[in-house]
Point group: D2
Chain length 255, copies 4
């Protein structure tokens, strides 16, 4: 019997009939007393944020909820609904899409910031070694749609500056992020501004989240937009809606 | 060209290069100014909650984040990680599990409350007609593990009472829920107390969310526990962990 | 220990170190000796098909492998690849889409044939009672794209006729299917021909598969097209490809 | 309009109303004339296998259909069913699990064989450089459960030998595989025999499939076992079955 319970173990939740404790706190003490954002922090990390940390964390979660139905994840949620899926399956179909290319950019940007930090903070050299190892797409900078600038990034960076001034974070990764932005502009001869992934990565790095959690927290955040779009599609109806109307034909391209 | 853009439409998000508006609000006005819970409400419904509504809504989201790894969803997230999946795919595998039986109880409980309301509020008769149509498992009441009572439900119901006294909701569905609880106790000769699904369904019904959103919001809430467990498993390591250790053998039961 | 192994049980597979038996057959006796289609039948049902049954079964599996990237499942697989997902996650994203509306039509068509059979075979009356209970979309008949006729259906029905003449099936459901087709034509004043779902449903019903397996087997069959498209997209590359090019804008439709 | 159709393109399928061609073949010519395994080959590659190739390919597909419910994928399918999911969602939940660690071993084994080949076939040195780059777990060899030997591997390797003798393949990767097996035994002082992933990788490499397709084809193959188990669980019933019975408690391990 010990074998079975030892096979899996957790420090997140402890239960007995009639009792649920999350990270050591009885659930009834949490309900009504912590915000949803604070609860996310507590569950993922085990401790609780102070008010300034919670405010910055919440801003990152709010910023990434949606980027419209051109994003494959949102499109997938809406298509799923027209295939007859209930909301849980539609949401899963969409979150599944948040892979290395779509939802992973924030994770990669935190890794990039750590890479620069570990390289001693010499941005140009650190960027060279990153590109040599990871390729020329620098995660967190530039946007194929938002020119000149992704409106979410400057707003988030202003909140990071406020938080730093209030002592809630050190501002080290904020400096690294703006340093990379400047270096990229210098190299390209035009601005390659920080985007949502680069800015939320600054926040998650400042707050001490490990890189994979930048992806995980993005999944939580984007799940909000996914739910909203899946529900809107549910109300609109439609059956088996593919990406384009049936009369459009994908290009057939014989080998 | 009009055909393609007419094939899909949305009132949630409007974008131009450099501009993102969610439900008509520029994203930079929302970031730092609304809580994550308020953002969820805004995205799903289009309007904004008042403070008392937001507080009650947040309590429901906090309450359902986790019920431990015996729940198939949480187990799936942890197994997925040991199969080598990153967090987005692990979370999707878990949310997908929140089907009619697992994540759908809250939705069904809202439907039950609406059914009782539409039947004129005569609980015993309405319960009979519900059972005749939907079967004998009454959603939102009783718990196979938590005896005598699911500790989340009374705490949530106390917050509903506070909200009603503050004028944030009418208390109609709270009355229906406690009425069903009393009727079930009378029929069974022992308490069949309201559980987490029954209590969050009271809140979502009081706040005017349609039944499928009780499932959708549960998915958002449980995604928090899913992420926490997936991340804990990532840190623990393990490869291809099935439900039981390899030396345990499932019962082979020849036809 | 008995509790744990009793919690789950199976008659499909029995294993010891060094030994694997599927449905009672050592795996090494099956490899090289049964076709993939026969293996599917054996695993799902426990017995083995005769040659004529296997041939008919295989035809149904071959017929449904793909219907192009306008189908939401195939589109989802391709989008998933451009989000950076490996083939297993891309395939899962796609199979998940095969819900009640997309992949469930075959299941519903088998249910319809059983309904007609149980109603005594009087087609017009049985169709009326089906529509009263299940709605006006008759599963398995008509096609929004293939006019005048879905080319897969007549070919499959010809194979059913051959199989019936060879004694491999009774032809009862084939008769019911063509009877429904005739009745629908009479009611509408124009042909509403049997489609792929209606024709594979005839085959699965003739071969004695329960209705949900018509959906399950469709998922296996369509997984082939899903894999082919996911792989083609992998080779083409592309990043974060949504349903339409970024310059197309979904219609924004303020409330 | 050209933009939209150019955004996606395919060489797999071409359709007009009333006409479906797969890889250039009208669907009605394929139905009843090609086996399901041949159809898989045609769809994925565009050409058709000869009889000896088809036989070897089919053996690999048959061999990997199931490895019991201790495998996370099969367990996930069964848990999904008890959460109320229909077969498509249960299958998707399971296939999603076939990640780098679970379903990716065959892909990695093909990569290993190519690595050895590209290194000039000097096994010991090539194995050293592989381990230096990819870590000490050598994909395709050894099994934590099947001792002394995974019964599927020798049977598959015997079929490869037959196919080579018949001229259907060259036997180059078969030699590499057995060479690695011998080198591992020499290093460890005990047999580390080829397992199912190593043996199917030999076959897929001999037949010219790219490494990612070893994973994709494994997903198709294992989908058969997934469907069988999901359907068996559907027939058994059960609600919200987690990995262990509710009375077993996962070890709580406070930080």
């Amino acid at each position: 019997m010990s074998d079975v319970s030892d096979w899996w173990r957790t420090a997140i939740i402890d239960m007995e009939p009639g009792r649920i404790a999350l990270r050591g706190h009885p659930i009834e003490d949490l309900i009504g007393n912590v915000s949803f954002a604070e609860m996310i922090w507590l569950m993922v990390r085990g401790d609780r944020p102070d008010d300034a940390q919670a405010r910055l964390f919440e801003a990152a979660l709010v910023a990434a909820v949606d980027h419209g139905p051109q994003a494959p994840s949102i499109a997938a949620a809406r298509m799923a609904v027209t295939c007859g899926l209930p909301l849980n399956n539609a949401m899963a179909s969409a979150v599944n899409m948040l892979g290395d290319v779509h939802g992973g950019a924030g994770e990669q940007a935190v890794e990039l910031y750590h890479h620069v930090e570990n390289a001693g903070g010499e941005i140009a050299a650190a960027l060279d070694s990153w590109i040599a190892q990871r390729g020329k797409i620098v995660p967190g900078f530039g946007h194929r749609f938002h020119t000149p600038v992704d409106p979410r990034a400057p707003r988030l960076m202003a909140l990071v500056a406020e938080a730093r001034d209030a002592g809630a974070c050190e501002g080290r990764y904020s400096e690294i992020g703006t340093g990379i932005e400047a270096e990229l502009a210098r190299r390209k001869g035009r601005p390659i501004p920080m985007n949502i992934d680069g800015a939320t990565a600054v926040i998650y790095a400042e707050l001490g989240f490990a890189p994979p959690l930048a992806r995980g927290l993005f999944c939580l955040s984007r799940s909000v937009g996914i739910l909203a779009h899946a529900w809107e599609q549910t109300q609109q109806g439609g059956r088996n809606k593919g990406p384009t109307p049936p009369k459009y034909r994908w290009t057939y391209d014989p080998d």
